[in-house]
């Protein structure tokens, strides 16, 4: 097995060890893993840490929801998105932020996916269509 494959495999194992309840990253488990790695550094220590960091970030972004909105109440929008099964309040950490640049509407970011229904986006579409 090549060294890069080893790094990928070890980092994936460490990620699996870091996952706690509801499939979320457990900070205590992560600290314990980091302490263990510090005390007994493996070969390719830096590469493993870098890859592990990337996997943790990617996993966390899969259940963290960034809700940007303008107009209305953040919790109301969250509730309506939950009703439409776009997000699950039990499984996702919802962070709602007021965003004036949207003019009106909302933008939800879950992992790499972005759902948007805002006046700013519609105006941008009109601009593109007219260019």
């Amino acid at each position: 097995m090549s060294s890069s494959n080893k790094v990928l495999k070890v980092a994936q194992l460490l990620l699996n060890q870091s996952i706690g309840e509801k499939g979320r990253i457990d900070s205590e488990k992560v600290s314990a893993i980091l302490n263990e790695l510090r005390e007994n550094p493996p070969s390719n220590h830096v590469e493993i840490l870098r890859r592990f960091g990337f996997l943790v970030r990617r996993h966390m972004s899969s259940y963290q929801v960034n809700l940007e909105f303008k107009g209305g109440d953040g919790s109301e929008i969250t509730n309506s998105l939950c009703k439409k099964n776009l997000i699950d309040e039990n499984a996702n950490d919802v962070q709602a932020v007021d965003c004036p640049s949207l003019i009106a509407g909302f933008r939800v970011k879950i992992g790499d996916d972005v759902y948007e229904d805002s006046i700013a986006n519609r105006l941008n579409n009109v601009r593109k269509a007219l260019l």
């Binding site: 992992g111 009109v126 269509a129 007219l130």
Partner: protein
């Protein structure tokens, strides 16, 4: 004013008002027209990716933790940390008759200042080549108007014929001559009112060329009246490598529209050496493993998937065709280079141009020994086949004997006759640039050569004689030329008329 507001209202009405969904990522690296993006976990291979300030990119490298995108257009406004989002679309270009007479970039956007292109259809740039079943063997001629090519290396509709040679040996000239000849034939065919006439539309793809050269080509095509049948796709040397990489595929998509709609088209890729260099640049920046001459492993596939898209379709599929004339530049006449051998093996023959012949004043500098057309005489009209059948052999024998005769003081009569005939044929094939000769005139000249009409003329006066005969045939000899053009055959009566016409010409020339 009202029309503008109506236009805006119309656009707004057609817009979707639903919530949009996209997949996003962040730019982590930017270099030489290539961006590495973290995220974009749902991006498709070859999908268009949108960057800020309306910059578009194409996802070419899908890796576990990042995506490599080649960027199209001006990338100076982009920076690390910018958002990139998927569009769900593959790169497409406008296609159709509306593109004729226009100059466009690799994305099909007009760059000739003649306003927007109102194309009704769009084709994806990357398409799968026609399979075996819809194809038909090549049997219809595509006249280049160059005697040396049409007689010895005939090209058929749907064929891929490589034009190869060192720099400044007349490669582009052969391609431009062919385009000009198509325009002439198209005009002649349209005027004749023949319902079965099939015009050939042309696409000229300039990859990595100097802007001045592209401008010169456009000027020549406009001056000769050929531009109305031509679309020029330009990705000059100043353009980024992504555009240079995409331009041939964009041009090919435009040509495929003609083929798939039962029409004939000709596409010139000028040139694929620079195309390979642009692809090598992109691949190295994308950190793809490099192989021979630092080209990536798939450089053969780069050209094979492009040239395989040229084909002749059968009647069930519209009977259209796309003929390709790729151009390759060699270094010091070395045809055994990596890219030249690749393209030679993909194409159905090559026209090899020699620097020595060019410098001797033999233009077009076609090397008889190294040039070949794998379609052969199947792509010649019967009349031409009859007069040109032996020429290649005669010329090849002449070149061989000419080399040996330098060491001989005494030559036998047969050898002398062969050398004499060969020298005349060489002179006959000399042709000025951008001056293609119609096939019926070529047939008459070749017939004259085969029937000894040029034997009494000094070798150094043969070019003058050919030029004089051309003038004669386009004036007094029009009828006999028309006969050949209409029938495509050399009947006994036609040969009789041809003999009378040439005897008449010979009297005036002498």
């Amino acid at each position: 004013m009202n029309s503008i507001t109506d236009l805006i209202r119309k656009e707004i009405e057609t817009l979707s008002v639903d919530a949009s969904r996209s997949n996003v990522g962040k730019v982590t690296m930017l270099a030489d027209g290539v961006a590495r993006v973290e995220g974009l976990s749902k991006v498709m291979y070859n999908e268009m990716v949108e960057f800020p300030n309306d910059v578009l990119g194409i996802a070419l490298n899908l890796e576990e933790d990042s995506v490599g995108c080649v960027l199209l257009g001006d990338t100076s406004s982009l920076k690390e940390g910018d958002d990139a989002k998927t569009t769900g679309k593959l790169l497409s270009v406008p296609v159709g008759m509306e593109l004729l007479g226009r100059v466009v970039d690799a994305a099909g956007r007009p760059i000739d200042g003649k306003g927007p292109i109102e194309a009704k259809e769009e084709y994806s740039v990357e398409r799968i080549a026609p399979g075996i079943i819809p194809r038909k063997s090549v049997d219809q001629p595509l006249q280049t108007g160059i005697m040396a090519v049409d007689s010895m290396i005939p090209i058929g509709r749907g064929q891929r014929e490589l034009i190869i040679g060192d720099r400044s040996t007349g490669k582009t000239t052969i391609a431009i001559d062919t385009i000009i000849n198509q325009a002439k034939i198209n005009k002649q065919g349209e005027q004749s009112g023949n319902k079965d006439f099939r015009p050939v539309y042309c696409i000229y793809v300039a990859v990595g060329q100097k802007n001045s050269n592209v401008a010169r080509t456009i000027k020549i095509l406009e001056e000769t009246g050929a531009m109305e049948y031509v679309t020029i796709v330009s990705a000059p040397a100043a353009d980024n490598p992504a555009n240079q990489y995409l331009a041939p595929y964009a041009g090919c998509a435009m040509g495929e529209w003609f083929m798939e709609n039962g029409r004939d088209a000709l596409i010139v890729y000028d040139d694929l050496s620079k195309h390979a260099v642009a692809y090598r640049q992109i691949s190295l920046i994308l950190k793809r493993p490099s192989g021979r001459e630092a080209y990536p492993g798939d450089v053969f596939y780069l050209h094979s998937r492009l040239l395989e898209r040229s084909a002749r379709l059968n009647e069930d599929n519209g009977n259209g065709s796309l003929t390709a004339l790729p151009i390759i530049e060699t270094q010091m006449g070395d045809v055994s280079g990596y890219i030249p051998t690749n393209v030679i093996s993909i194409t159905d023959g090559q026209i090899f141009l020699e620097t020595d012949l060019f410098n001797k004043g033999i233009r077009p500098a076609v090397s008889v020994g190294l040039s070949v057309s794998r379609v052969g005489s199947a792509a010649q009209i019967k009349a031409y086949k009859k007069v040109a059948g032996k020429v290649k052999l005669e010329l090849a024998q002449f070149r061989e004997l000419a080399a040996f005769s330098q060491f001989e003081s005494d030559l036998d009569a047969a050898t002398k006759a062969r050398l004499d005939r060969g020298a005349r044929i060489v002179e006959m094939f000399k042709q000025t640039a951008f001056n293609p000769i119609p096939v019926e005139v070529q047939t008459a000249i070749m017939w004259g050569m085969q029937n000894d009409f040029f034997d009494s003329i000094d070798v150094d006066k043969i070019s003058e004689a050919v030029s004089s005969l051309k003038d004669y045939l386009s004036a007094q000899g029009k009828e006999v030329c028309n006969e050949i053009y209409q029938s495509g055959k050399l009947e006994e009566s036609t040969e009789q008329n041809l003999r009378l016409a040439l005897e008449d010409w010979k009297r005036t020339f002498a």
